[in-house]
């Protein structure tokens, strides 16, 4: 079965969505991620959606759900790489991805996650 790969980088999980996801694939990612957060004792999840040309309300809800589930499991989620046309469309659609942290790119997303970890340890 088709799956979206989840990479582990230190205390963080990295997901790069590179295909136009059908709904079941998005649901599967949600499940896989929660399991991996626990198994890897991950403290952060970085989701790169720079390849996604469309984010409709279903995918938007999936992203919000992942962020909420991760938070319950004590992990922070950052979504990076939202294309400008997708951002414009999301807002017009009425989705503002509330509760989801975003960053322009992977580098800045990683900095956000690392800062949170350091702040806790400090």
């Amino acid at each position: 079965m088709e799956k979206i790969p989840i990479l582990k980088m230190g205390r963080f999980l990295l997901v790069t969505v590179q295909v136009d996801m059908h709904d079941q694939l998005a649901m599967q990612l949600q499940e896989d991620l929660t399991e991996r957060i626990v198994a890897a004792r991950a403290r952060g999840v970085l989701i790169d959606i720079s390849s996604l040309e469309v984010v409709d309300s279903f995918i938007g809800r999936m992203i919000s759900n992942i962020a909420a589930m991760a938070r319950v499991l004590d992990a922070e989620t950052v979504v990076v790489g939202i294309q400008p046309a997708v951002a414009v469309t999301l807002v017009e659609l009425g989705l503002s991805l509330e509760g989801v942290r975003t960053a322009l790119n992977v580098d800045r997303g990683m900095v956000l996650l690392q800062e949170r970890l350091i702040a806790e340890q400090g």
Binding site: D20, M21, H22, D23, Q24, E53, V54, V55, D56, S57, F58, G60, R61, Q83, P84, A85, V86, V88, T89, E92, L93, G94, L95
Partner: protein
């Protein structure tokens, strides 16, 4: 309105929704839409295709490249033979849902389109027509 090209796609599975997005994108590109306009139309198509599948029990979409004397556009007609919508005004309200969604499907698709119309008969089905013109 002149129809340049028209094709009908089935909406029976989740994969069909992905195909509807792709075919809508192709039509928008062929009509010279900007990236933002393409994205808006494709997102609206995705919402309506999911409604057709989830609430209408499946159906089809007719995707047409259409021209007016002064403008170019894409028209999408989603048809299902599902239960129909009893209260269209309510269905068009943000946040209203009879299912598990966010309730942004119809209202969001309307905002993302230049033209929007819906016809529905309880027990017979629903037809949603949208059009977006190139800016």
């Amino acid at each position: 309105m002149t129809v340049l090209h028209s094709s009908v796609l089935p909406i029976r599975t989740q994969e069909d929704i992905v195909r509807v997005r792709q075919a809508t994108r192709e039509a928008a590109v062929a009509q010279g839409f900007s990236l933002v306009d393409q994205t808006k139309l494709v997102t609206a198509a995705s919402e309506l295709a999911r409604n057709t599948l989830d609430y209408g029990g499946g159906g089809d979409v007719e995707i047409s490249r259409v021209n007016d004397p002064s403008r170019r556009g894409v028209r999408l007609v989603f048809t299902d033979k599902g239960p129909g919508i009893a209260d269209i005004e309510q269905a068009l309200r943000d946040g209203f849902t009879s299912g598990s969604g966010l309730g942004l499907g119809l209202s969001g698709a309307k905002r993302l389109s230049n033209e929007f119309s819906i016809e529905s008969k309880v027990g017979e089905g629903t037809q949603v027509t949208i059009a977006r013109w190139r800016n």
